[in-house]
Amino acid sequence: MGTTSHILLHIKLAWPSSPILIMAPGEKIKAKIKKNLPVTGPQAPTIKELMRWYCLNTNTHGCRRIVVSRGRLRRLLWVLFTLTAVALIFWHCALLISSFYTVSVSIKVHFQKLDFPAVTICNINPYKYSAVRDLLADLEQETRTALKNLYGFPENKSRKRREAESWTSAWEGTRPKFLKLVPLLAFSQDETSKARDFLTGRKRKVSGSIIHKASDVMHVHESKEVVGFQLCSNDTSKCAVYTFSSGVNAIQEWYKLHYMNIMAQVPLEKKINMSYSAEELLVTCFFDGMSCNARNFTLFHHPMYGNCYTFNNRENETILSTSMGGSEYGLQVILYINEEEYNPFLVSSTGAKVIVHRQDEYPFIEDIGTEIETAMATSIGMHLTESFKLSEPYSQCTEDGSDVPISNIYNAAYSLQICLHSCFQTKMVEKCGCAQYSQPLPPAANYCNYQQHPNWMYCYYQLHQAFVREELGCQSVCREACSFKEWTLTTSLAQWPSEVSEKWLLPILTWDQGQQIKKKLNKTDLAKLLIFYKDLNQRSIMESPANSIEMLLSNFGGQLGLWMSCSVVCVIEIIEVFFIDSFSIIARRQWHKAKEWWARRHAPPGPQGQDNLGLDIDDDLPTFTSALRLPPAPGTEVPGTPPPRYNTLRLERAFSDQLTDTQMPAES
């Protein structure tokens, strides 16, 4: 038979190098089997044998060809093909994994009865000037003095102002505390270190860094003085000078600074009383074709805008909704803007501010309110868009802000803006010791005022600069909210009331408001506002995971199948062969080496030792099972007949079964 001849041939070839021939017949058989039956599997004596066995038996494509092919180039090519396929599998699987956390966006348009949003309306002027005048008298007086000194124009001639002048003339003798505290200064353009004090007219030296140096385009006269004020820290060694391109801005900012100081000391109750009442502000109200009144509005006191009124707040636990789109079915109000009661220095424009927001959202009137002009009808059409984002790991958004390390000082649902403001306010309390007036008060903090915190203003301006430069870390800590509703507003204007309707409209409204106001309404005192849904379509933008785990697995399967026709079982097989079996073989080798080393150390030196060594080398190829069973005591040296004889017999039977499947011997 051919097989026997092959075996013989191999034995011949092996002759010079191995001492098989001088071995016992049992050893010979074992060696034969070892050489000729590649189907050794985990019992393979060497790693190479194991690999060969694996390649012949695996279902993974490519491997078998490496072994089966004849010719070195062919083999090499097959190795290359196989490795390329493996590399491609890894590459594409990596691509698939890296794109796993992508989202797909679906946009749905619902047509349904929509909940009407909360609408907050404020007069731009916070407090009735007649009511706050007592508090601000000194300040007004000094502002006028400053204006007079600064620009040299006389007090105006209007009747009201005259009254004011005579009224404030009583204060002539008092010490001007505000100008002393933060003096308004005029800087000449060329020498910024010198400034003229308005109060005394004396020149004074200004040290410290000038924050907004007015190297401006904005001044007209060549030798124009620039107006600004100086803020110093406690020890007055560090000062910041703020200059403004326009005197209007300088005066307003200066006034506002002191105004906030004064108002910070006024209790909330008093402030609410000084501001407009709902009945005063809202002359008429219509919603969804039904009449409504001031009771449908809830009070919300804003530090800079005074009393604001929120319509459709969840006060009585029902959210109103509109059944139809169009201006007839929205909110229609006529606002009474009493221009006479405006604070001349604090606010310079006339009108109201309106903001559309969610019921549980804080209305940021000062940031994103829409202005309403007097003597105009402003129609605001809304379009609702809802957005839902997926949170971690798809994006960085937060569901309710609980995982953001900033305590929410607003009594409202989390939003990015709330977080930023809260962060700033918290930092302000930390650094400056007091809270800024235009934002809510954090627990255990007071609003800043000059009496208690003399240098808060310097601190605030420094902090604000740091905030803008993102040095406070607020922008990195605050994350956006995952779901939000937004109303896209479209504004249009019309002249209101018309020339002809004015004649009957104004008297009627005057009569209506008879109890509240004691004067005849003028058309510039009124503003009409219509807020409505343009249509009842609600657009929701929803994110959903683009990939599911099944998709990922099937894509993996596709890649494995495409390149190598591999499967999970193949992968397990690879793990078994390449890791468990290989390691067991290596471990066995090492074990034998250790044993051999032990034996050499303990065995007496001599020619017999050589013999034993040779036997031991040959003996390090027993099957795996025997190796496992081989924890012989280090001392027990068995040079003669080794035990594996029986094992080989047992194994032989097992191999003969497999032999027909894998026609390997023909090749070797």
Binding site: A85, P344, T490, N555, S565
Partner: protein, 645 residues
Amino acid sequence: MKGEQHEEQGLGPDPAAPPQPKEEEEALIEFHRSYRDLFQFFCNNTTIHGAIRLVCSQHNRMKTAFWAVLWLCAFGMMYWQFGQLFGEYFSYPVSLNINLNSDKLVFPAVTICTLNPYRYTQIKEELEELDRITEQTLYDLYKYNSSSTLGTHPRGRRDLREPWPHPLQRLWAPAPPPGARGVRSAASSVRDNNPQVNRKDWKVGFQLCNRNKSDCFYQTYSSGVDAVREWYRFHYINILSRLRDTSPSSEEDMLDNFIFACRFNQASCNQANYSHFHHPIYGNCYTFNGKNNSNLWMSSMPGIKNGLSLTLRTEQNDFIPLLSTVTGARVMVHGQDEPAFMDDGGFNLRPGVETSISMRKEALDRLGGDYGDCTKNGSEVPVENLYLTKYTQQVCIHSCFQDSMIKECGCAYIFYPLPKNAEFCDYRKHNSWGYCYYKLQDAFSSDRLGCFTKCRKPCSVTSYQLSAGYSRWPSVTSQDWIFQMLSRQNNYTINNKRNGVAKLNIFFKELNYKTNSESPSVTMATLLSNLGSQWSLWFGSSVLSVVEMAELIFDLLVITFLMLLRRFRSRYWSPGRGGRGAQEVASTPASSLPSHFCPHSTSPPDPATSPALMAPPPAYATLGPCPSPSNLVEASSSAYTLGEP
């Protein structure tokens, strides 16, 4: 060739030195000795599921046929699926992603224009005659004596000078043919720009003719106001092109007079924050935060306080009366590197009103290349960018129009930039440019110029959605001191009251911005995964199986070539040994074929079924890797005779 060499070596005719079949000495590439050998090897080792059954079950025709059908079905299914998958991939589908980002935003560039190109006093000399003619025309047509507004010139001096071209005329609705009219002009006589809204049966327009007056048409308007304005504008353009060289003086003075106060993010603006250009219609324009701003403004918070706030003068004392019919200022928000097209995207500000414009940013990213028709930087668009800015579709269309204008009319339209080697239109030099321009405009709007197809969309677009709120400014109580102050500081004339000032706030409404981006919905990885799934499903094979097939084909070719070579050799070198060799071959196969080699082909192959295998070659197979010397000789000798019968 290399393989062949080794083959030759292996089959070397020298029996004395047989190659040792050790693994170390294995040839670089080895070939099977025969087709049969090859197919047996293939059948044993292939990994294509159906192929084993098909190729290797030769002994049963029924089975072969059955497997062939199955194989073909699976093959068809797989390629149908492949077609679908490839079709999907090569249609380049995109999926739209909407990202809601929130981070610090770069404040866009804001351009503000005075709405008055020149101070009337400066340009009065040039416009003097035009105004006089206009005045005369107004009187002739409408019996309106405008001397009260314009009247610096006594009427009646018209006859002293030559009449201006293209006079404004009154036309009756069924247009009468006044004067010399071409034969062809009858069809397209009156071009009606507006539907006739007035009850009267006459319109106002002016005549435009081509160079040799052979073709004329009337540009008509239903409203006299429109007609006069357009007519005035038409002449103004001509005057302007002559005036072009003398640029308006004292821009700095203009800015100081135009913008009273400027603040961004609670800090004053300075010189470095704006740039100036002059627009022939909208006047002096100032771009804040433009591309040459040293450090761009950033908005870290939404709200008015963190935006741009401007106080503007809107006084109309020296407006050109017939050109500027709008009062206020014009503002536009655009990207830093985009030009400001005040015509296309402007926003007018009313005087006496504080306008608060809230912005919301939106970005759109398209996938270029195969996925959509868009251009990354406009370099591949066949239109030269006349604006030295980033590519936008608007830039391209304007450039395209200017290009056609120069080609068709020989001169450049004044509102678009001047290309090299061209001059602006003026009917003293180009007497028919008006005719040409209106014709071109018509062709342009009906896209006969191909500008809209030539100009592709840019791949990434940033847009700002604006919404405005208004409040009266300054308020009654504060206006006294504000006006006083402005007059002291900025030479404001108090008598103008509220009409001379306007306030503008531009700010981000929220820092969230939406990014609509496209991404390929089928990537290469998913396509391959899908192909692999299909392949595994129907065939259970892989790319490596295809390589196996390729190898099989390669082997077949090489073996055929070798056999032919050998046959050729045997015929010419040793023709006498053929018969003996053939007999030997016939005698050897049964004994030397290893029975375990191919378990399926235990029966001797039928030469009729497989003509390719008709010469039973198994002698070589057994000799394969480890032939004994004697065998080798026999084998080689028999190999020569293979082709003999």
